[in-house]
Amino acid sequence: MGLKEKCFKKSLWVFHLSAGSCNNCDIEILDCLTPKFDIERFGMKLVGSVRHADVLLVTGVVTRKTLSRVKEVYEQAPKPIVVIGIGACACTGGLFRDSYNFAGPLDKVIPVDAYIPGCPPKPESMLAGVMKFLNKK
């Protein structure tokens, strides 16, 4: 069991970073907060600043304009931090891997701990992904 799995057992605070996404994953993340899925019952909540966060959710492809910002946000985060790539774009580049404005896959920019694929992943699969990561032995 690594340090990250040991540290983060409960009440994860989540910061959401949209690197260059189509809004789909972002609204599905917000959906997790609303009464139907309600992740706040696990003590998870979205926070306003990455400096307060345990988990960094990254959605969308990293574009050339957001590249430096994504790195900066990662540097500002308290370590250890769990980075989760949400959606096909963050995992692989998806449809946009051939685009001229694509600055490279997310895991070449910052270290990524878990990937949740899907376009967009359903809120259930996001919850399942986070739980799977935390229960990793």
């Binding site: 996404s21 609204i27 306003g48 574009t63 050339r64």
Partner: protein, 398 residues
Amino acid sequence: MGKKTVIPIGPYHPLLEEPEFFKLYCDGEIVKDMVWETGYNHRGIEKICQTKTFEQVFYVVERICGICSTSHPFAYANAVESIPGVEIPERAKYIRSIVGELERIHSHLLWVGLAGHFLGYNTVFMWAWKYREPILDMFEIITGNRNSYAMFTIGGVRRDINAEQATQLLKVLDDVKEKTDLLVGAVMDDPVIHARLKGVGVLTSKDIHDFGAVGPTARASMVDIDVRRDDPYAAYDMVNWKVILAKGGDVFAKAEVRLLEMYESIAIIKQCLEGLKKSNQGDIKIKVKEIPPGIGIGHAEAPRGEVFHFVKSDGGNSPVRHKIRAPSYTCIPTFRKSCVGGTVSDAAIATAAVDPCYCCTERMTQVYDYSTGKKIMNAAELIKLSQAKTRDLKDKKV
């Protein structure tokens, strides 16, 4: 005049879902000027479209924006089908309209929720998003996915709506109508919301014409435009509905337009379901063998306004040019009119009132010389220029 304070908002800010950057120049509480900078979300979609076949482009344009993921395929379908001039089957028309209107309901509910959140009414946010869920479930039943429906194709739609799904949909609509009554009551009768929204972010009909704003933003200022009525496509000329207008041009009027439009959408879907019943077991798709050389122009009324697509074909497999204009592109510049002169605390809701969608907007990062057609700037230089402009403005004004 006193010293001006600069408030930077973004690009990553709790208020914003997407990366964008605002700078408010304030004198005390009053916003004197604002600068907005986008381009964070530019993914080169028009260029990608030119490398895909006509069929594949549907799934590319769907990923321009996750919230209006039917409007872009809708406008693209209108554009491509206008090149060979095909008429799609009646059943496909009804199904297209149903998906389009369902999306409008879910998008407006989403807006009501976010607007409530900006105003500090988190209950409204939770309610609106909770009532949005049955619609997303319905999408999953009809199309197979909660967002990005992949429903449209050249010459029709890919999936049929059967009688069982229609019954389910009717039930969901009745439920949504009830909840809309509740939301309308909560918004229209609340004195605090009146005090907070009335007279904030006013856009006159002249401003709308000056900026070329579209959609609910324009209709809230009594500018009577709606592509669904002005240039009917799909089944919109086969059903009865009316364009919702409101007086005032303030944020309250925009909220009113959006809330009342949901009733119209419900009415449209119900009539379309009746139409589906009549055209029982018809075709949902006709085969289009090839797209001849030519130019296709298509538009559609997205929840935020008119989406415009231009497709040029040379008779080959893929478009040689694809141009997209999203509604937020014309609506976002109105920020300078609606925010300047107001207080800082009103700036958030005045910008949110347009329902801006940045991932729709960001199409362009290269500048060409108009006369010679030579490229004079690339993305990196433009970014540098944009940053320099912000810096200059800062030096000048502070």
